[in-house]
Symmetry: C2
Subunit: 395 residues, 2 copies
Amino acid sequence: MEQIKTLPIPARGTPMTTEQAMQLAISEAYKGGPRVSPNPLVGSVVLDSKGGFLQAGHHEFYGGPHAEVNALKNLSADVLKEAHVIVTLEPCAHEGKTPSCAKMIAKLPVKKVTFGLIDPNPLVAGQGAQILKDVGIEAEVFSSADKKLEAEIKTQLEEVCEAFLWNFRQKRVFVSLKMASSLDGQVALKSGESQWITGPESREYVHYLRSCYDGILVGKGTIEFDNPSLNIRHPTIEKKNKVIVIDGEGDLLSKYSDLKLSALHEGKNIFWCVAEDLKEQIEKKISKFKNPPQMVYVKTNVGGDLNLENLLEHLYQQGLRSVMVEGGALTASSFVQHNLVNRIYMFQAPIIMGAGGSRSWTESLRIKQMKDKIHVNNPRYQTFGGDFMITGTLK
Amino acid sequence: MEQIKTLPIPARGTPMTTEQAMQLAISEAYKGGPRVSPNPLVGSVVLDSKGGFLQAGHHEFYGGPHAEVNALKNLSADVLKEAHVIVTLEPCAHEGKTPSCAKMIAKLPVKKVTFGLIDPNPLVAGQGAQILKDVGIEAEVFSSADKKLEAEIKTQLEEVCEAFLWNFRQKRVFVSLKMASSLDGQVALKSGESQWITGPESREYVHYLRSCYDGILVGKGTIEFDNPSLNIRHPTIEKKNKVIVIDGEGDLLSKYSDLKLSALHEGKNIFWCVAEDLKEQIEKKISKFKNPPQMVYVKTNVGGDLNLENLLEHLYQQGLRSVMVEGGALTASSFVQHNLVNRIYMFQAPIIMGAGGSRSWTESLRIKQMKDKIHVNNPRYQTFGGDFMITGTLK
C-alpha cells in the first residue's frame, strides 16, 4: 500500500530488461494508491520490438481505465508492432466497469504480454492469458533467470496489491498500524503530552498513507486526549476519508457534537463501534443528533471489551476494505495481540523520551519467551527528514 | 568513530573536485578505526596538477606513518609537480613518533595543501600551514562554494576524529552507548532472556565497533545474567581490548575466577569499579587472586551508587580515551541521564517484544515535558541484514 522508492520514467527508446520493466510497472502501480480502492493497484510498461521503453501507465482511479489502457494510450499500430506489454496483474478477461483489457490487447500487433500475478479469482484465472494466446500473442507469467531477483519482484508484486489480495482471499478488511515513537519506543508522556514526536516530513507522509486506506481507526483514548481531526491534510491529495472510533461503552457519544471529527466529517463517514448489548439505549441517544455517526454494534469478549475480529467483519460488511489503525497505545497493542495487523508503519524520531515517565505503544502486549517474538516480515526502511520509518508485514 | 559508507578508490587520473577528494579522505581515515587510538583518525588524498586522482592513504596504526605519508608514498617528483594534497587534519609541524608531515611536504614540488581541521592544539595550530607557506606552497583550510555541502563535510571532519577532539578539548573519556533492541525499544524479557534480538550482521558490526574503542563498559547485571566474553570476535580484526565493569559494592568479585571475562582477558585489561570506601576490604580480597583486575575506586553519590563522572576521570587517568557502554538497561539509562554519552549506536531488529513483559533500555530514565526530550544529533541510518542501526551524537 505504500512504496519506498518511485522509479524515474526513462526516455523513450531506453533499453530495459523485462525485470526492469516489471519493477517500473510496480512503481507506477503505487501512484494509484489514494484512488483505486477497492480495485487493486496495477501498473504497466510497454517496450518496443527491440526492448526499448515506450510508455508506462497505471490504474489511476476506481472506475477509470485499467493500467494497460493507460500504458498503450496514443501508441500507433506501427510503434506497437512486435511490442512487449508488461503488467503487474493478468489482463482482465471480462467486461466490468471498463471493457476487457485482454480483448483490447488481442486486437493490437503486440508480440508478447508478461504479467506479474495470475488473476486471484480462480473462476477467471488464466482466461485473460487464453484470450491473448488464441490470437497468437505470447502470454506468460513473469519469471527471471536470476532467481533471487525473481523472488524479490514476486514479493513486491504481492505487496503492491496486498489489500486487494487479502480482501479477495480472506473476505476481510486489510489492517495496517501506524505508530510514531521515540527511539526508545515511547509514544507519549504519562501526562498524555505527545505532540510532536516526529517531524513535518513524517507527518506529511502519514497524510499520504491515510489517503491509501478506506478508513482511519482510533481508540477512545486518542479522541479524549487529542480531539484529532482525522482527515487528510496533504499538499496534493484531496480526499474524504472514513473514520472508525472504538468506544465500547459509548461514553464519548455524549461529547459527540463537541468533537472536531464530527464537525469535519459527514456522519455517514464516521463509524462508531460500541458493544451490541447497548444498541437500544444508544439508538435512542443518537436519534437526536444532527449529524449522527454510523453505529456499529459489536460482540464483546469475556472481559467486556469489543471483539476486534467481529468489529472488522462489520466494517467489511459496510464496505470498508482497508483501515489504518493510528492509536492509541492500547488499541495498537490489542490489534497486534490478536494477530489482526497486516502491515505496520513504524515512524521513529531521533529522540529519547525515557520509558520511566512515558508510555510505550506495546505496554499491554507481552510475550513469555523470545521464540514468541513477533516478526516484521520483508522490512523496508525510509528516512523522512531526521526521522526514519520501517514498514513490513506481520502476517 | 564509525562510518556509514566506505567510498570506492577511483582509478588513477579520475577527475575529482576538492569536495570529493575531502570526502574520500574522510572515508579513508575511518579505516584506521581499530588501531590509531589515542591518535586521531586521519585520511589524505593526492590529486595531480589537473585535478586527477593519484593516491589515497590513512593513518593506519598508532606509531605508524601519518596519512599524508601514506598518500604520497612512491609518487615521483615528476608526478607530484603542481599536485594538490587534501588531508582531513592540518599536517603536523613537530617531530613526534614520526617526522613532521609539514616539513616532509615542504620538500616536494606540490602546489597546494587543503586541510579539513586546524590542529586543535592552540600552541601549534597554524604552524603546519606556515611551514608550507614559507616555501611557497598554498595552504588553506577546506571551504566550498556550496555552503550546504561545506557544512556537511565540516560535520564529518569533526566526527571522524571526534574522540580525539573530545579528549583534547575536555581531557575526558569519549563515551559511546551501544544498544540492541526490538522495534518497540525492548532489550530483554523480564525473565532476563535476550539472545538474540539482532541478527549476525549486526553482531559482527558490533565487534568492529568494539575494536574502535579502548574499552567495553558493562554494569554488574549484564555479567550476572549473561556471563559475557566481552572480547572482539571479528573475521578480519584481531585486537585485545579492555573491559570495564561497574560493580559498586564489589559483590561480583567473589565469583571473579568463574567469569568468562577473567579467563579471556589479562587482569591488567580488566578495570573493576567499586565504591572508594570499600578499598581496604577489597584489596585484601583480591590479594589472593591469580589474575587480579585493575581496581578503580570511585566516589559515590548520595544514594550510594558510583559517581559516573568520577569513574570516567579515573579511567582517563589510567590511559583510557574512549569506551563503549554495552549495557545493561540501568547502566545505559544512567549514562544518558547524567549526560555522559557522546555517541549512540542503536541497533533495532524488525521484531516486536511487547513492553508488557519486557525491559526497556530507558526504564530508569524519565523526562517531565516533551521539551526535555533528548535529541540524537546528525542521525545516520544503516541496515545490517534485516536490522537497522541509527547513530548520532547526544552532545
